[in-house]
């Protein structure tokens, strides 16, 4: 050991700010990220809010007064709130029993329910909306069958009902997943100790189970509310315009980006969305607190009785049918010849697919290009923000993290309007048009909207990385940047990859901001293509075929990200280290 004396590491002059545990490189990164967020998140959103309160010379509430004097606006606001609440109610009616079955009963249905938790999310609601009209509409399959058999129809898809129905079927997994997680975190010992102290039945439920599960439910419900408020494309495709998001879109696109009413609506959308997301975060924070005493294996499960089994399977199969009906509908539509006033299409063909591969290749390549750029930006920013927040003591690091996460509460419509407003006057060189409608802006808008997903994934990965692994490297002479490249990045790779895939998949079906920022078909992505096709009856077939392509892409990506996350977890637990 002592034959050749080892020299200490050659001293390089890298200044190290011990107080902040940071190097100049870190500070540079932080500044760059801050600049990006300011330019493409804060300034656009602030400009929207600013215009809402601006009368050309100073602060004003006149625009808001106008809003509350315009009857269509009042009606839209009430409709949006009504649709939001009713969607939460309908989604709860589906999700709450499903969540209860999985945690309480030992039976195979639980596996179906887990699939149910993902199936709706791989198809954006606007894609399913048209197909749902064909299945559940006034002259759709179900009502034709009902009419034949019983002589009445159910107005599933009439007006606001349609929006509620489509959104609830799409978003109920948010409640299912959050509530199941909450229920699974309740240690059976908590329930048993209450039983041991004499509580059972209703008292047990109301005093122990309900309070412990509530945060998960509230978190899920608030998210559903925010998502529904934010969704622009579904009402538009169902021809419902008397809601807030469509009104804002119509005002900005028809009256022009100078019309203050669009900004007033946008401001209201932001405020409501922020409040809902905040409520959801607050609920989740309490949940962590409530179940900190080591996550138990969930409530004690019991064997299901025969009658219960029949009832439970009946419910699960009905839910499965409902959840899959948009998928089935879109699939039928994509391979059907004519489908109108009939239970099923008149005939079947692959012509729509050949049409889209002939006409719509540009949409697909655009989507891949934009979403890959957006996802790349997201994982780079996400990994850097996570690292800065957790591994340095730079002032403002938590603010950076919070601002990036806040993007989750900014409706895509509002971000789109804000980017238009901010960058429309900026002209690109060589007559390439406005910066706001330049194709790269779509990728940037996607990256801002999906940054929270990638950031969460990177943060989770870094959190699992015990800091002593990095300290051991530093202790052996590796500088911060060497440690980053040789220890941190390789060990975070799974989380980074999962973040990339999630960002990519969710960006591929973004439509709200897309609708505002696309000006030429040549620059349009897949989601826009589907929307355009779906608007004309003749385009429905190809639109549905494009929809199927989008669903397949998103499904594969989702499956990949699950696999990556799972393998990563397995690798870690096998490592058997005492960390």
């Amino acid at each position: 050991m002592t034959d050749v004396a080892v020299q200490p590491a050659p001293v390089r002059r890298t200044p190290y700010l011990a107080r902040w545990a940071a190097t100049p490189f870190h500070i540079g990164c932080a500044a760059l990220i801050a600049a990006y967020l300011v330019a493409f998140l804060i300034v656009p959103v602030a400009s929207v809010v600013f215009v809402a309160f601006w009368d050309g010379s100073g602060f004003t509430l006149v625009n808001f007064a106008d809003f509350f004097r315009t009857s269509i606006m009042i009606e839209s606001a009430w409709n949006s709130i009504y649709v939001g609440l009713m969607t939460v109610a309908l989604a709860s009616a589906i999700a709450v029993p499903l969540a209860y079955f999985t945690v309480r009963f030992r039976f195979r249905g639980a596996a179906i329910i887990q699939t149910l938790g993902v199936v709706p999310l791989v198809m954006p609601p606007f894609v399913g909306a048209v197909a749902m009209q064909l299945v559940f509409g006034k002259n759709g399959s179900i009502n034709l069958l009902l009419m034949d058999a019983f002589g009445f129809r159910i107005p599933f898809m009439d007006g606001l009902n349609g929006v509620i129905f489509v959104e609830a079927l799409h978003y109920f997994p948010f409640i299912l997943l959050n509530l199941s997680a909450s229920l699974a975190n309740i240690d059976s010992a908590m329930e048993e100790s209450a039983q041991n102290l004499g509580a059972s039945g209703w008292r047990l439920f109301s005093r122990i189970v309900f309070p412990l599960a509530l945060p998960g439910y509230v978190a899920g419900a608030a998210l559903v509310f925010a998502k529904v408020f934010d969704d622009l494309a579904t009402p538009l495709l169902l021809n419902v315009t008397n809601m807030l998001a469509p009104q804002a879109y119509l005002r900005v696109t028809s009256v022009g980006i100078a019309d203050p009413m669009g900004y007033v609506i946008s401001t209201i959308l932001v405020v409501l969305s922020v409040m809902a997301v905040w409520l959801s975060l607050l609920a989740l924070k309490n949940r962590e607190f409530a179940t900190q005493q080591r996550g138990g294996g969930g409530l004690s499960k019991r064997e299901i009785s025969r009658g219960e089994r029949i009832a439970a399977y009946g419910f699960i199969l009905a839910a499965l049918f409902l959840a899959l009906s948009p998928h089935i509908g879109i699939l039928l539509l994509s391979v059907g010849t004519i489908w109108s006033f009939s239970v099923l299409p008149d005939g079947f063909t692959l012509a729509h697919y050949t049409t889209i591969f002939r006409e719509a290749g540009g949409f697909m390549s655009n989507t891949i290009l934009y979403c890959a750029i957006a996802a790349l930006i997201d994982v780079v920013l996400g990994a850097m923000i996570a690292y800065l927040a957790m591994r340095t003591r730079l002032p403002g690091r938590h603010l950076l993290d919070q601002i990036a996460m806040a993007a989750v509460a900014v409706p895509g419509l509002v971000l789109g309007i804000g980017i238009l407003r901010t960058y429309f006057p900026v002209d690109l060189p060589f007559g390439a048009g406005s910066l706001a409608t330049f194709w790269l802006m779509l990728a940037i808008a996607y990256s801002v909207r999906r940054l929270p997903y990638a950031l969460r994934s990177c943060s989770a990965a870094l959190q699992q990385l015990h800091q002593s692994l990095e300290e051991a490297a530093e202790n052996l002479g590796a500088s911060k940047s060497t440690t980053l490249m040789r220890i941190v990045v390789p060990l975070m790779a799974g989380g980074i990859l999962a973040g990339f895939v999630t960002s990519f998949a969710t960006a591929a079906v973004e439509l709200s901001a897309t609708l505002l920022l696309v000006t030429r078909d040549a620059n349009a992505p897949l989601s826009y293509g589907i929307y355009v096709y779906m608007q004309s009856p003749a385009g429905r077939g190809p639109g549905a075929a494009l929809g199927v392509v989008a669903v397949v892409v998103v499904a594969i990506a989702t499956w990949l990200s699950f696999r990556v996350a799972e393998r990563d977890r397995a690798k870690r637990t096998r490592s058997g280290m005492a960390i």
């Binding site: 002592t2 300290e471 530093e474 052996l476 002479g477 500088s479 060990l491 960390i579």
Partner: protein, 343 residues
């Protein structure tokens, strides 16, 4: 190789100080231990020596070099982490080679040093494995080898045995101690286990509440504890607080003559084995047996005397008869066996 000087170091996370005016000198080649209960600041102090965290005031020197503001990767102070911190994505060999690569050694030389390092801890066969495929004891040895191959000026060990089972713990303790002697490496060893500290360390610093309570050899600490905390943390002690008046010590109904101390308040301590039990009305003070515990080599009596409960150990051998509860006795201590405590 060098010693470590810690001079008037304080540290905190913003709230109450975690370390309060700590000063220590670890001599070159010495095996030194930080001993204290959980939360006393041992790890924090060790990490400051390694460069993880900056003291709010004070100076840390390794050898003659002031390292207080030197970042961890330029200190050449080898630390073995409590969790071992082996990198799961690298083989054992790659883990051990890492520090040598950072020092820019030629490839051939690295290979030789890694081999000798793994030989030193008896793991030559496992070079190709990943950390996940090793037992806890083997992981511990890899962590040790990884640190030793870079020939640090000082070796820091944070509770190195806490993740091992009892038998392995004693084995590794002897191994570490032999290794340290062989390499003559200045070593600081953190533990909350007094037996472990006594067995390996030349000298021990006892920490409590972020302050150094006493520094000394294991025997000094046991025989001459400076205060109540040290007296009770290292073994069992009877502590009597009272007054000395005219060479007579009085405390809660107990009276002890021939105390060589000026008049005034005093705290006196003695170990359970330093007292003797005699028939009642003998020399010493009187009491009644209140409890009896059989500990194997000794029998431990608790004796109610005045307001105190005095603990006395009596060696046990086969056929020795034990005293019954309720028996009146007198307790006798030689004045030289008393220790006067500071606080």
């Amino acid at each position: 190789m060098s010693g470590v000087e810690i001079e008037r170091v304080s540290f905190g996370y913003g709230g109450a100080p975690i370390l309060d005016d700590v000063s220590l000198n670890v001599a070159k080649g010495e095996f030194f231990a930080f001993l204290g209960p959980s939360g006393s600041g041992k790890t924090t102090l060790l990490r400051l020596v390694a460069g993880f965290g900056m003291p709010s005031s004070g100076t840390i020197r390794v050898g003659a070099r002031d390292v207080t503001l030197v970042p961890p990767w330029k200190r050449n102070v080898g630390m073995v982490f409590q969790s071992y911190a082996l990198w799961p994505h690298m083989t054992v060999e790659a883990n051990v080679a890492f520090g040598l690569e950072q020092r820019g050694l030629p490839r051939a030389e690295i290979g030789g040093k890694v081999r000798r390092g793994l030989e030193l801890v008896g793991l030559s066969q496992l070079a190709e494995r990943r950390p996940a495929q090793l037992s806890g004891g083997q992981q511990q040895r890899v962590a040790l080898a990884r640190t030793l191959v870079v020939e640090p000026e000082v070796l820091l060990l944070d509770e190195p045995l806490s993740n091992l089972d009892a038998k392995l713990r004693v084995e590794m303790r002897h191994e570490i101690s032999a290794l340290q002697r062989k390499l003559g490496l200045t070593t600081i060893y953190v533990t909350h286990d007094q037996e472990e500290a006594n067995s390996v360390a030349d000298r021990i610093a006892v920490l409590d509440g972020g302050r150094i309570q006493q520094v000394g050899t294991p025997v000094e600490l046991y025989d001459r504890p400076a205060n109540r905390f040290v007296a009770t943390f290292l073994g069992t002690a009877n502590i009597l607080e009272g007054h000395v008046t005219g060479r007579q010590f009085q405390s809660g109904g107990i009276s002890i003559p021939d105390i060589d101390r000026a008049d005034g308040p005093a705290a006196m301590a003695f170990r359970p084995q330093d007292a003797q039990i005699a028939p009642p009305d003998g020399p010493g003070f009187g009491g009644t047996i209140a409890r009896r515990e059989f500990l194997g080599g000794t029998i431990r009596y608790s004796i109610a005397a005045g307001t105190h409960m005095i603990v006395v150990d009596v060696p046990h051998h086969r056929n020795a008869s034990a005293l019954e509860i309720g028996t009146p006795v007198s307790v006798m201590i030689e004045p030289a066996r008393f220790v006067t405590l500071a606080g």
